[in-house]
Amino acid sequence: MREPDFSELATRLLKSGISPRHAHRTVNELRDHYDDLVDAAVDEGANSKNARLSAANELGAMDDFVAEMASRRELKTWAFRYPRLAIIVYPIACLAVLPAMPVFVGIAHRTALVRWGASLLAAGVVTAMLLLIMQLSIILG
């Protein structure tokens, strides 16, 4: 059995609808468990490569693990538990949030927004001054 790929495992769990909280925590626990198994095998005299292979064996097949997690409805996100409801609720929620998006984006990028505002103000002042000079030159000339 090959060594487990934990980042791939996390992706597979998320794709099968497991909530991010459970997916990431389970993968972390599983990784620690694997490290404990490797340490135990090394303590018993195995070399590093054999210890990792033995640990992967004892941990079990990742396919079985994903299937076991995916069979538990309570660990899934609500959109996977109630897909028909999600089809209705998600578009409505998106439409409701859409008008407020510029405000959220503005808050998230407030420093850029302040810089942009200051540049706009400076450009306005310069333009106004140029126009004033032109106007004065016409009046006085």
Partner: protein, 112 residues
């Protein structure tokens, strides 16, 4: 390769986990070692299988978890809640009833 258990073992990991956590809080690796020890290695789980069970039990309120740093690693320790103790009591009664029934059936079959 870890020996697999027959299909009728469904539900047994849950019972064993609740039973062991009724004694003291433990993390996943400790629990698997304890199961092997407590059952004289008669029950061997694919070790990763306990995590879905633990998460489901936590989700339904039978267990609670907390993180503790131990030897440079953050362990997730599980312990039983009041609901978990009630569930353990029910599962234990169910198991004893079924075990008794199957034993009686096997003895009757053997004597027939």
């Amino acid at each position: 390769m870890a020996q697999s258990n027959p299909p009728f073992m469904s539900g047994v990991p849950e019972l064993l986990l609740l039973r062991l956590l009724n004694e003291q809080e433990m993390y996943g690796y400790e629990l698997v070692r304890s199961i092997k020890q407590a059952t004289n290695e008669a029950i061997t789980l694919g070790e990763g299988v306990i995590y879905p069970v633990l998460h489901s039990l936590e989700r339904n309120g039978s267990l609670k978890s907390k993180r503790k740093p131990v030897n440079g690693r953050t362990r997730v320790y599980y312990s039983l809640t009041k609901k978990g103790r009630d569930r353990l009591s029910k599962l234990r009664d169910d198991w004893m009833r079924i075990q008794g029934g199957v034993a009686t059936a096997l003895e009757t079959g053997a004597n027939a």
